[in-house]
Symmetry: C2
Subunit: 252 residues, 2 copies
């Protein structure tokens, strides 16, 4: 059992704040479903597991090399960020992309504000097998509790990285990675050809789309053809359609 004054507990509690997550490059996940996905898909990223007094760890989980602490219910309650805690928390290391940017398939997220939307975006990027998802400066934190919940474990399948997108788009251009930006002023998808399997796709803020400065760096600005009356699509829905289109046309 670990006491509330313990230095470790103090650090764990700090990880509830974005500032400390970024400084330590660590984050908290909660609940058996997410922790199981982490230990099976990305065990090397799982640092520590904390269990509430009453929680029993499943015998089949591969836990070699992971520190495990049982904590009092009081400490657990101080650490949890959910209304109905499920008795298990893990501390994970943020995954990092390769140091050198290589041709690949990337999603660049500019200024998305809603953590649930961002989680769904991460899950969608994962489903399409993207190499990395980059979050721009104005984006909500990729490691907050709501984002992690709605991403349903996709954080353990691809790196989720905060980075300046303008600078990144310059690097991608230098690597000759074709850049596509979602914009209501863009060309409709059926009018645009896709240049091979690699891409950087920029999607933007729920209300305003991606920033004009960033869109100006794109090779193509594209728009989903829509016949109806809704002004726009949800950003995760739009991203799913664009990723499907890039996959279908880029591999054809």
């Amino acid at each position: 059992m670990v006491s509330l004054q313990n230095e470790k507990v103090k650090l764990w509690k700090k990880l509830k704040l974005r500032k400390w997550r970024e400084r330590e490059q660590k984050y908290l996940i909660e609940g058996p479903h997410l922790v199981q996905e982490a230990v099976f898909s990305a065990r090397e990223q799982v640092n520590t597991i904390l269990i509430d007094e009453a929680f029993h760890l499943p015998a089949e989980w591969p836990l070699d090399g992971i520190e495990i602490f049982q904590v009092t219910h009081k400490i657990f309650t101080e650490l949890t960020q959910t209304e109905t805690p499920q008795g298990i928390i893990a501390i994970c290391e943020m995954s990092r992309p390769a140091v050198l940017l290589k041709p690949g398939r990337y999603l660049l997220v500019d200024g998305v504000q809603d953590p649930g939307n961002l989680g769904t975006l991460i899950r969608t990027a994962d489903a399409f097998g993207l190499d990395t998802i980059y979050l721009g400066d104005g984006c909500v934190d990729g490691y907050n509790a709501k984002t992690l919940r709605s991403a349903q474990g996709s954080h353990f399948h691809l790196p989720v990285v905060h980075k300046n997108l303008f600078q990144l788009s310059k690097e991608m251009k230098a690597q000759k990675i074709p850049l596509y930006g979602s914009s209501l002023q863009g060309h409709e998808l059926d009018q645009v050809s896709v240049n091979g399997p690699y891409f950087g796709l920029v999607v933007g803020n729920e209300g305003n789309g991606a920033s004009p400065e960033l869109l100006a760096e794109m090779d193509q600005q594209v728009k989903i053809p829509m016949r109806g009356s809704a002004e726009s699509l949800n950003v995760a829905v739009a991203s799913g359609i664009l990723l499907y289109w890039l996959q279908a046309k880029g591999l054809a």
Copy 2:
């Protein structure tokens, strides 16, 4: 000013419950953004507007034929379903599809549980200009406050109708409307041909997909090709991709 004992107020309060919404075929919307969309897009469906003491109705809204009541702040507080009420509520009539089912473009939603997801689905169906969205027996209510909020006014652009989907799919077959069902056991989209602009598309519950009995009625079961590791897509994202695919291929 209307008093709390008033029969009208009693009825308005009842509309917070699904049972009463279905019985009366009426529902509540809140906030200037949604009410504005309603009076501009579907004024004939807006029955009554209730305003809190301090709210001023914009002079440019077309309000002919709509009953308007100013209520006390106390009554308003009893009627509101949001944490930060914005001073205006409207009572709307549910829209209905044409009595006779005609060839058209329809989304059939089987057992979706999350009101936010359902709202995003309704918004997506609207963006693609669908004729009606049908919600099956096990679906969350299409007119609850969260669904209405996340649909962002799309309820005023297309009918949102609760209906038995099995029976409906029989009626669609009789009308020779091609039926497509989203299923992890389906054929990948690139292998499937789309038979003209009309369709009924079935999408299913977040965890389990559409029911096997309903899928058995489909002409085609289809699957989005995915190269990555996420087990599945969010139902609204998947629906967006399928509607884009049906539109692109059906009109080609």
